[in-house]
Amino acid sequence: MNKRTILLADDDALLASLLNFRLEKAGYTVDHVLDGKEVKAYLSHSMPDIIVSDIMMPYFSGIELINHVRKELLSQTPIIIISSAGNEENVLSAFELGANDFISKPVSPSELLVRIARELNKATI
């Protein structure tokens, strides 16, 4: 069975490495990018099975990323947004633009895994 690919976009290298480790341990292939530019470059040549992105990123925010994926690339790839607490407005905007789910910081890696699995299942159905 092919491993599912996750694009993890987060400028916090420490948290990203932690999530990366956990997701890889759970059997996913994780591609980690640090900022919006890298996200755009990555998406220009490949599309992952799911995107997990921080809402606040340099150059290209999570909101812009959703817009880019949904409106420009016309892709329905599931997108999970990671946002810090008290950022409800951004989360609402993300949902309006087509984000599938969100998880607020501090993140529980186990919870993130469950959400990813759920979104991937939905996408498969």
Binding site: L14, L15, S17, L18, F21, K105, P106, V107, S108, P109
Partner: protein, 835 residues
Amino acid sequence: MERTYTLNALISAPKIPTDFLWALSLFFVVLAIVYFVSVFFFRNRLSRLGKQVIAKRKVFSPMICEFLFFEEDGKKKEKINYIDLKIQIRELIKNRFDREVLTAVLLDLRTDVTGKTRTELFRVYQDLELHKDAYKKLNSWRWEVVSKGIFELTQMEVKDSYSLITRFINDKRPTIRKQAEIATVSLKEEGINYFLDHTRYKISEWQQLKLLDVVRNKTDYEPPAFRLWLTSKNNHVVLFALRLIKYYNQNDASASLIQLLRHRDNHIKKEAIFCIRDFNVTDAVPILKTIFWKCTTDVKMYVLEALSQLGTDDDIGFLEDVVTKEVAFTVKGKAITALNTIRPEGVLPTQDIVPTADFETEVETLDATIPVPIETEIHSTEEPSNLQDIPVTAEIVSIDTKKDAKYSLDLEPTDILFLPIVTEDLAEIVVKTEENSTKEKEHNKDLRDLLVYFEEIFPLCGSEELHFEFLPIVTGDPLSEEEATQFLNDLPVTFEEVIVVDEIKTDKNKTEKCLTSELPVCFEEVIVPLPSVVENHQIEEDVKAKISTGYQVEKISFSDTIPIEAISHIKVIYDVLAIEKTFIRTESIPEIDWNSAFELETIVQSQVAITETKNENEMEKELWDIPKPLFYDDVALNTIALLEDISEMGDHREIPHLNMLFQQETNAKLKTRITELIATFSDVDDTLLCFEPTMLPERQSVFHNLFEVSDIEAKIILLDEIAEVGDEQEIPLLENLILSNDIYVQKSAKQALEKLRSRLVPSKVTDVEVPILADKTPTMISPNTDNLFTVDFELAPVPEVKEKKTIPHQPRNQNDGNTLFDHLCAMSTKLYDKE
């Protein structure tokens, strides 16, 4: 020509010591150079440090991840990696800088993760003994270091540090004190009690908020009765307690609250008033009235607010007094508000109210100037009851603005929607405007002064279409019984077909009489693959015959959307029904006696019965081609059980007993099994010798018991300790440990032994030779490994299962009563005796 300057010919230029100037210039140049060099140096140093930190973080983050997500029940390789990593990280954090970076990494992660991962993070922090650094920080003379230490311990939830931190609660340095207060409240549930009991300093508003936030975010927190601190000598504690009482709705301190209304501190008074108001303490009203006159304006406002909520008609007199006597405008206003709250509309507006007599004269003037039809004019001041008598007709309202009128105003229909009633024959609304600003002002005083025409509009009846969807449907004559039956028969019914073959065969008429056969039926066919062993053509033909004759349905339709034509070619295999038959035929199932069901005789009888049944029915014999089970007698069963136990738990010591059993046993299969076991126990690889601490010295080492219950890491630490504090009693233990199959332990034991011997040489030279067997073990140990934690070797793959089955070199008495067999025999004897 007039001179515009003065001559300073007499003023001579001062003598400047040029050498001094040069020296000064040089000094400043040097100073500038030093400055720039130092800036350059420190900047570079900081950036280098930053790079080092980043590099270290990159090293530590995967290690931390490995620690955080390590699972105890993981693979063996993973466990080995984990231990290796633990040793590596311990080696790394010997450096102070690395420890600081690691602590910073953990603190950063703490803010990013939650749940189980965070708990694990706290465990790792303490496991790596990073909290000891924080303890050291607590002893620093620098306030920022102490504060940082307290913060670190609080963030990483080191509960053991509680007693160390509490002593800073009354520290004279405010930053440390505040940090300690938060830590005390955070670390333990009873921390807030300790804090409120012991604090002597002021608790700032901001600090109170932070403390409240800490308390509020505690899970499963049961707040204490905060009224206990209302008697505190520290006013700030009383104030904070009042706020906590209000937050947790602890309304069991009414008397204390009333007492606190007389407190000198206005903040406490104010907070007490809030509590009284929120808890509706009506007993406090007299005290509130008493203290009112001596309060400040702010407190008066709060008192009046409380009175407006708690007061009754009895308090109106007091409030009226306040209105008349009070000088402060805001307090007066609040008192009036309170009056109107207790007795609505008790006080009416009086400010800038024009007397009624003035309006009467004004109205007369207006009536005289505006030409309006008298018969339709209704003054707005009239009672609405008069309007009910006015004849009303349905007319469309049209507004005709008379621009040529003297007092007229252009109005849109929407602008007059607020007007109350419209009378019949309305043609126009004339609103007087006046260029004179004074008159206009008078007209705008009251809406009721406007002259208006009314028309009452009722909904039209009869001409509109009515919607009756909401009404229930009422039919004509009820259906007769026959019609109703017919109607029911015509209804399509969907059910799952269950055909019992015998029933069709034996009770045909009854089945044909079934009402359902006359109904149009929608079938759900369950098509099951035909098992290869099933062949019952007789029943199949019989069923087909029944279906083609009497059991033919009138109409067959499938419940899903597949048309019947599309599936008509599918062959329905009725052999499945034959399988069902075998179960249906057993109409009279004998009652099972569960007490004796598993006894050997019962089983044998059942088997015989089954065999007889099978003989009677050849068809079933063909269907069920199952191998005949084997049954053993009691003795054989016991022997089998014994052999299985021996195979699981036994070793080479069982071989003589197995040989004995082999000679006694007559059953060929059991003999084969015994032979297998003997072969298994005999087949032992001598190279896989492992350490068994069988040879214990007469005077056992105090570390021996500790070793038995310790993990590898603990063993290594213990070995270090032995090397430092041990004596000759530890030497046998160390010698045994050198033979251990764990390379870490082996290596550490070797080093510890060497150290111990070198330490003990002056006092006593041991005559025990150290057998160096490390080289014989299947590992590759570097000869240059002088450091305990330098891991520069690889583990050789050692089969785990075979390690357990080893033979010690010394010969043993095979009948010494210590074998598993002997234990089993002894146990069974004991049980027998007990019964």
